[in-house]
Amino acid sequence: MIRKNKRFIEPSIFLSPSLLFLLFFLLFPIIFLIIISFFEWSGISRNVFKNFVGLLNYKEMIFDSLFWKSLINTIFYTIGVVFIQNAVALFIAIIIFMGNFKNSSFIRGIIFFPVLMSSILVGLIWRRMFLSDGIVNEFLILLGLQPYNWLSAPITPMLIIILASIWWGTGFNFILIFAGLQNINMELIEASYIDGASFWKAIMKIIIPLLKPIIIINIILNTIGGFKVFDIVYVMTKGGPAHQTEVLISYIYYLSFSPYSPDKMGYAAAISLFLTIIVSLISVFRIRMIKT
């Protein structure tokens, strides 16, 4: 009896700090979030629980074209980043792995470096490149072409945000894929090579199928990251021009904290809950991967 008791007390002492943090800063906020989403709440200085509106905030989501726009933008961004980033990373990883480069670790360091920069820095750099007097327009002028308003035209801002994100994140996917390549049993490839398989056939038939689990992890991580995109959008366009590049989190920010916000905290909470549920659903796959 005493012994059983002891076993319970000691782990509890070791666990309690973690559990306290999770209780106060995770469980409570989730409960608050759900509650707030049923209220019409206009700002931080006002009383939250005054105007109960039931499901009105959720109803508003269905009829709010800006919400749909930001959701579609988020999905567009995510798909663009997931596909291009993984394709580029896979391609470069195989090229470097197969290419017998002397300074392989130095090269990998350079490819990885942008990952270490904050998304804010990446946004600042790419924004400056595409401003009217940035390097891109200077290059166009040199070629005798017309300069272009990249960040205030209708379609290009979103594409440039995607481009900047890919520049930033490819190194991350690259490192994971490269680590996967290094774990491949080389005798397998060697054998196929001796059997007369060509360079490209070895890649397509042996290497890529073996990398599948890592590519899946990459896709899951990029998808989660895609739905959480905010920093780069905020720095490069602030969701503008005229909400053109609004994504879910930037729209939540616009509704709640932005200086131009319409002060709809309750509605923003409803969208936050929607975002939380979507990301959680995607992440369930990630947890499954951990377990295997």
């Binding site: 559990l19 942008p114 360079f199 905290m265």
Partner: protein, 287 residues
Amino acid sequence: MLFKGSLTKSQFIFTRVVLYITLIIIIIPILWIFSVSLKRPGEMHLSYFFFFPRHISFENYLDAPRYIFEFLDISVPRMFLNSIIVTSSSIIIAVIIASLAGFAFSNYVFKGREWLFTLIIAVLIIPKYGLVIPLYLQFNQLHLLNTYFSLIFIYVTFNLPLSIFILRGFFEQVPLELRDAAKIDGASDFYYFTRIVLPLSRAGIATVSIFSFLEFWNEFLFAFLFIRDYEMQTIPAVLARMGGGRVPIPLGIYTATIMIIIIPVMIIFAIFQKWFIKGLSEGAIKG
């Protein structure tokens, strides 16, 4: 290695060309920023080959701190200090708390252990960005807005699940004979934990510290929303205000500021490259 000598000439050329194009694409944005930052303030539009400066000068670097103070209301040393305080205390607290929990899971058998562990891991799926509004409300009530604590508490909390997961894995690799030996010598569990388990799990602690470092050092949304007092802001929050202010910041100052922020990261990365790559990929695959 394996394919040595087995690349045909065209394959050899192809791999080289692809690599050089990749490296150029990665380097050009940073190189452009760097070159512009070296121009003389009056010669911004004079350049060789698109962007290389005619005359190299460090004037922008000397002027940048004054401009930042003027435009963004914070001194350069202060913003580094803010980032260092928030990041280092978050890492220290996160590592301590997570390793205590990891030890509880690895060292004791108690009822509901795996159930609780799964529950904590499940927390990983909740994105912290979805909880900005209730957390803001909560910290407002606690009068913790505009303090380092607001960021530290949030960073620690949302890093716990992954850290606990990774540390438990490392702690379980410590041979059980060591525990029995410590028990026989009359050592307490806490002594065994601090003197034997932790020192043997240095690699795990390094992994956790590295991915935490990047996460905390670069975090923007909370740093930007929860600390409105400019004096207290961390680097990303200060930089973001450079994007579109009332008065546009001169290009030379803008680029020099970016370099001032990048260079320390470059130096740290050059020293710890292996650790960074290992820590991040481990953290990512497992988490």
